[in-house]
């Protein structure tokens, strides 16, 4: 995807903003709207991941899953170990998190929920690709029907809500999957003018929908947390817009450290922000300093991990 690191940097900062922003202008609806809806950074990540996966040839499913496990899930387990000691988890909590059980029981309240969720996507999307190759139309139609039926049934017949944070992201994931295979989308992405025009239109529609159905009153019927789907036009608009912003060294570095940014903000971010606030810094200063500290440390950790991963190879070359 064009300028992928720019897109990922923006999405990571949106999520940081969502999690840790302290209100600078209490009661200001613009600030509140921007913060409340910046969760769409997650949707951007889902779209980009599915798009990238759809573009690549998965020769060996086992090798692909193993590589994702080593690049993503191993880091997740590492951060879970840190959280285990730092937060004083029970062993049951640790096991439930790393096995993905907490994702199903607590949804967004589970530790770094996005990482087991994206691992699930990496497990299942290649299988969807195989079905798609056999019969694209039937696969797509059948999947949509099953998705809607399960979503409505669980929403209307049970009080279960936890997994909708992922279930309602399946449409944006599939949009990423299909976008990568679409000549039309490729053509739009390659044209700066078309991308920006489409982005402006989508953002105008998308942010309006978010304002009315994903902000003060959230669309919850007939599917729980249906407002996640309302965000799709805005998500696509941001992706199109950001795809036209060239990567620079800072977005390349930050874009490589998005997993670390996410993990550090969730493990240490609240404590850091609270401590800075108690040191009588104003909310804006707290926000900026918290963000800078987390991003800088995340980039350092990310680079260290890269060096350690490449160390056996560089030692061999010597």
């Amino acid at each position: 995807m064009k300028n992928k690191k720019t897109i990922m940097t923006f999405a990571a900062l949106q999520i940081l903003f969502f999690h840790l922003w302290i209100s600078v202008f209490p009661g200001n609806q613009v600030e509140l709207f921007l913060r409340t809806t910046s969760y769409i950074g997650v949707d951007i990540f889902f779209f980009v991941s599915a798009y990238s996966l759809s573009q690549r040839e998965v020769d060996s499913y086992g090798k692909f899953v193993l590589s994702r496990f080593l690049n993503i899930y191993l880091k997740y387990i590492g951060f879970a170990v840190i959280a285990f000691f730092y937060a004083g988890w029970q062993i049951k909590t640790f096991i439930y998190n790393i096995c993905g059980i907490s994702l199903f029981t607590k949804g967004g309240g589970s530790f770094l929920w996005f990482l087991p969720a994206i691992m699930l996507v990496y497990l299942l999307l290649p299988l969807y690709e195989k079905l798609h190759q056999k019969n694209a139309v039937l696969t797509g139609v059948a999947f949509i029907i099953v998705w809607i039926a399960i979503a409505v049934a669980i929403s209307q017949l049970t009080s279960y809500k936890a997994l909708f944070i992922l279930w309602n992201r399946i449409p944006i994931i599939l949009l990423g999957f299909y976008a990568a295979k679409s000549d039309f989308v490729t053509e739009v992405l390659q044209s700066k003018k078309k991308s920006i025009l489409a982005a402006v239109a989508l953002l105008a529609v998308g942010e309006t929908l978010l304002f009315f159905f994903g902000f003060r009153e959230k669309l919850m019927f007939p599917i729980v947390d249906l407002y996640y789907l309302i965000a799709i036009p805005a998500v696509l608009g941001w992706i199109l817009l950001l795809s036209q912003i060239p990567e620079v060294w800072i977005t390349k570095m930050v874009g490589q450290a998005t997993l670390e940014i996410y993990a550090l903000q969730m493990i240490f971010g609240y404590t850091l922000a609270n401590k800075l606030f108690r040191a009588n810094m104003g909310p804006l200063a707290v926000n900026l300093l918290t963000a800078v500290i987390i991003v800088v440390i995340a980039v350092i950790v990310s680079q260290l991990i890269r060096v350690l991963k490449n160390f056996p190879q560089s030692k061999h070359k010597m």
Binding site: W89, I101, T105, L127, I154, A162, L163, K218, Y270, N274
Partner: protein
């Protein structure tokens, strides 16, 4: 073939967790209690705050002062809490739609809003009607991504206490 089978089994195991999760229902509005004296009160944050509310509202009738007293509770640990006055017509997070029917109110919540905690103290002429309205409109999943574990309300004179909260603020 074996690798594919193993990976499918891993995927199915995670999907099977869906049914484990489905078997567990969220604590919902049935955890609410009224203002009667009851035994075996759960040892959770919301109930702890309710007890504090009952003590504080006897000492001070200003809703902001009561809320400020509640946020000093050690139940909140290191989390910085803030109190904001609320008027009718203001945005009242935590509910499907805005809340009305009160003279004055104070909202108390974590400074960082992603923790699924929200609390209100209302002063009203019809506390029972307001309490019923709050219970009807409350949305445990008002906070994007996270869900509160429980909702507790209480009425003391013309004052209504409302909290949606995790069971505790202990880190998980």
């Amino acid at each position: 073939m074996k690798k594919r089978l193993l990976t499918m089994m891993l995927a199915l195991t995670m999907v099977a967790g869906l049914f484990v999760g489905c078997g567990k229902s969220d604590k919902d509005a049935s955890n609410q209690v009224g203002s009667e004296v009851e035994e075996n009160v759960p040892d959770t944050m919301a109930y702890g705050l309710r007890t504090l509310f009952r003590e504080e509202v006897k000492k001070d009738t200003n809703v902001e002062n009561v809320a400020n007293a509640l946020i000093e509770s050690p139940l909140f640990g290191e989390v910085v809490m803030v109190v904001e006055p609320v008027s009718e017509g203001d945005y009242t997070p935590g509910f499907d739609g805005d809340v009305s029917g009160f003279r004055s109110a104070a909202k108390f919540c974590p400074m960082i809003n992603t923790i699924p905690f929200i609390g209100y103290i209302f002063e009203t002429d019809d506390p029972n009607a307001l309490e019923a309205l709050l219970k009807e409109k409350a949305a445990l999943n008002w906070n994007v991504c996270t869900i509160a574990d429980e909702m507790v309300t209480d009425v003391q004179g013309n004052y209504v206490f409302f909290v949606m909260s995790p069971e505790s603020f202990d880190a998980e």
